[in-house]
Point group: C2
Chain length 155, copies 2
């Protein structure tokens, strides 16, 4: 019988990865893949230290996962992310074969803190793709936003 | 005075990259960045040989470009792609600071040949983002589709 994942605990783990990411000189984002009853892989944002604008936590995670697991073997996996995946990461998750996403901070809430104007919600993207991807969130949003308020204090 | 790029010639260069990509064991996609009057960088799809589901030609190009050029210095650059960028690549291009895209084969035409069901047009994505991205295409689409018909003959 499959172990049921504890969404709040796994999102808190993503928030911890987001804090670690900041400590390493990057933006506050973290993600992990839950698979076969446990945490299979983790990733942080590495945009600044890697000089790679595409190195969001979710895309980094998908790259790592796709190096060792075929898309067909990920149908039961769940990607957890500290924040709602952007359009780039939504696409990467789609191609990876992962079909479930749980996020902490929503795209609109993140934009309200960062001052950004990037707001396409992941459910909107996934509603247009087949097969669709199940999305759950926000989860423990106020906890996750605290890190972003520290990181972008002027916004 | 800025040299005006020859869209057809640059799209043919992308089609050549797409053919090269197939020769190396990958999918038929290529992209290049036109900047300051010439071709600045090129990239091919490397999904299969790199065991990386995110390694589309456009995303590979953005990764390479972002390693050496800041987003603010790319406002006048043009990304040329053998096919219309997918949602992942649209996002990567957005984050890169590139604001103009020219593609060869459209997403709906590509889907009709590959049998895929991935059809979100890039203009639709970019209409939702600020600053917007100017998109031009299809360009020499029937030439580009020929490579795809060879690659996915059963579709």
């Amino acid at each position: 019988m499959e172990t049921c994942p504890d969404h709040e605990s796994l999102i808190r783990q993503c928030y911890h990865l987001a804090s670690t990411s900041v400590g390493r000189g990057n933006h506050p984002f973290g993600a992990l893949l839950w698979r076969e009853g446990g945490v299979f892989m983790e990733a942080e944002n590495t945009v600044l230290t890697g000089c790679d604008i595409t190195a969001h936590a979710e895309l980094n995670l998908v790259r790592k996962v796709s190096a060792s697991v075929a898309p067909g073997a990920l149908a039961d996996a769940i990607l957890y992310s500290s924040a709602e995946p952007c359009v780039m990461c939504c696409g990467a998750i789609y191609w990876s074969g992962i079909r479930r996403v749980v996020f902490g901070v929503s795209a609109p809430s993140l934009a309200s803190v960062t001052g950004g104007h990037y707001v396409i919600e992941s459910r909107e993207i996934y509603a247009r793709l087949k097969p669709g991807i199940e999305v759950m969130g926000p989860v423990l949003e106020s906890e996750g936003l605290a890190e972003h308020r520290r990181f972008w204090p002027g916004c």
